[in-house]
Symmetry: D2
Subunit: 235 residues, 4 copies
Amino acid sequence: MLVEPAAQIDSFIDSFGNRCTRFFAQQGTLRLSNSTLICDSGLPDEINPNAREIPVQDLPHDVVRYLYNSRYCEVDRFSIIALEHFGSVPPGWSRVQAICDWIHTRVTFGYQYARPTKTALDVYTERFGVCRDFQHLAVTRCRALNIPARYVTGCLGDIGIPVTGVMDFSAWFEVYLENRWWAFDARNNQPRIGRVLMAAGRDASDVAITTSFGMANLTHFTVVSDQVQPAQAHL
Amino acid sequence: MLVEPAAQIDSFIDSFGNRCTRFFAQQGTLRLSNSTLICDSGLPDEINPNAREIPVQDLPHDVVRYLYNSRYCEVDRFSIIALEHFGSVPPGWSRVQAICDWIHTRVTFGYQYARPTKTALDVYTERFGVCRDFQHLAVTRCRALNIPARYVTGCLGDIGIPVTGVMDFSAWFEVYLENRWWAFDARNNQPRIGRVLMAAGRDASDVAITTSFGMANLTHFTVVSDQVQPAQAHL
Amino acid sequence: MLVEPAAQIDSFIDSFGNRCTRFFAQQGTLRLSNSTLICDSGLPDEINPNAREIPVQDLPHDVVRYLYNSRYCEVDRFSIIALEHFGSVPPGWSRVQAICDWIHTRVTFGYQYARPTKTALDVYTERFGVCRDFQHLAVTRCRALNIPARYVTGCLGDIGIPVTGVMDFSAWFEVYLENRWWAFDARNNQPRIGRVLMAAGRDASDVAITTSFGMANLTHFTVVSDQVQPAQAHL
Amino acid sequence: MLVEPAAQIDSFIDSFGNRCTRFFAQQGTLRLSNSTLICDSGLPDEINPNAREIPVQDLPHDVVRYLYNSRYCEVDRFSIIALEHFGSVPPGWSRVQAICDWIHTRVTFGYQYARPTKTALDVYTERFGVCRDFQHLAVTRCRALNIPARYVTGCLGDIGIPVTGVMDFSAWFEVYLENRWWAFDARNNQPRIGRVLMAAGRDASDVAITTSFGMANLTHFTVVSDQVQPAQAHL
């Protein structure tokens, strides 16, 4: 990462396995930039309707924590509601998909509905939100049904999407089924090409793109992505 | 840990550094027991009024996460209130102590006020709670003031306390000042002898004594502690 | 009403049509008592499965306000949820009954679950409460479905109930169907004999048995009811 | 009020003394208009620093209800906080003014912060809002301190305000001191000329400008005010 004006940058791996960068910024204008070349399979999100739910007792140790409460995912307030809503849906992949379908159909997207303190319960009652809100509700319901779920921040391309030019930072979520994590997206609710996972955590509080201690006003935010051919990439 | 009827026990270290034990319990009565010999300094909680607050940029990497939101500690809802209340108190030890004094004086203890979903904001408005509630409010305010704070579950002896026989499982919290974690206790708010730290995390959700997936009714809970002399301990 | 030590009592009718009594109490022990003879039909709550819902535009003016929000009945947070849950049930009596059945079946009664700030949304997520909580959730859902509903405080006899001796102050609710108010009770959910309506309002905040401004600790609360024959009553 | 296309209009006085109009609108575009000539004193809001608080026991019967909870004014959650914040300020006018000053200084106005479910507690923690939010917090704190307060919807002129052209529908609140209701405005917090009170109630839920049962999208909203001279007015 490039910081202008220059600052001493420190990098570390957090408890969720994410690479984090810290630095001390002087007062004034700050410009952060980064460039990377990502090798993507070019395939849409994998779908596996046969992926089974793992009984809690068989989950890997480091996956169990993704069943717990977090700031925006009040699992304790959804334990009964989630069972009432989705308890009759077959467990595993289909249950997660049913949760996504429900949210995708019944929550309306709009940037004006964003607010920093909005929780899964707020999304459930208000039915408006941004991508983070869609995923928080999905994550919370999965956890309430004992399906490990984690919140993901990343970059979502527009490859294969009719309306191009919408490549943007986004949020989705992952669930642990069978023996691995799988991407789901209650906001878009369709397989997409080119998800670039930047960080995963319990909810948005863990994986904010930036966390600043002190006043920090965002004035510009630009994402540029170019699709290059493997041949070019090797140059 | 002894489990009756016997079950295969699995042990691991969680992301907070706590030793955790997992097992699959059959339906029916379950008895968990454990016995340990602990070497305690016999000294009350250390007090260091000179312990300084560490600027956020100088905090160790693995301490930073204790500034963030968690289920019962809505730091985002306290950022302004905490500053209004304690911003004029000198930073460092005295500010943490002021937070403890405030809570100890203004929140009333009572087992009947416990409820699983009670958050720091609820404690602030209701002013009733159990030990976990006292600590959640303290932890949240410290974090809102950029002082790393973590919630601790453990066993608190009654050594040196006028009313003996109150040795019990309890909760307190720790803050990171100067170069280490220090124990504080907004519930008791006095230095105590013999704190046995069992687990530390972001809030009660991380360090529940037991987390059960499936119906589990607690029927008995007994803690026995005997003070033994070092000579005996070496036998 | 008899107040000991004696105080000047003022009586008035509030905006909901309830008779209220006000007085200024001196510091010290206060004893309030009252005695009344009530003529009851001896019949259980009337049931009328044919009672129709009245379109909002045809509701009497003074009934419309019972469609609105109140402190413990967040109608605005239930407008979508209520429709999802009960929108497919035929409107009118059967819809109200379905709401009562749902709550009666899924919420567990317990005095230890009472707390003054508990709202309908809390009851929906926690599923525990006292009679007031059952009725708040029912009232909120009815209003969210455009069925006027009001909260009632009163005395509920144990006539005809297998376990006698449970005569007590209680809460239930009323809905406006066809051309009048009808009693429903999500807590007991069965027709009862001898409901003595004391006050009706938007929620418990409007019809507290006592509202005291200043410290007031309840030390005793006794209700005595005797069934007398009409002949006696005429004496 | 003129309704186009024409509908049968029904008018009544609600329990707060407000004149309300009801009608049944057909599907399609609806246009509501009204025109009125108001005689205003031309004087700014009256200020009376000597206006005393009335002890609860001496309040008129119909004023007492403005001490109670309502949907957006959770008095029960502010009873302690309000006393801590303003208990040391002399009671009466100065206490209400201190509440307005606090809110005016510490809450930031912005239309993007409006949301229908925002309560006084939300305003206290978030510190952002529209005029209704400013007043809800003020009303709640006054009630928590036993000062009757009611929420007012109306039209606020820009007479005497440097930036003209801002005449708009607005909200303020009134408190009962000495022997009458007085206008306060935590949003503008300065005496204004030409407040046209349209409705008063417990909070915004009681005095919405329009309450529609069924889908209703606001497409245009225009307020035109002309200052006319008394001579003209008499024509």
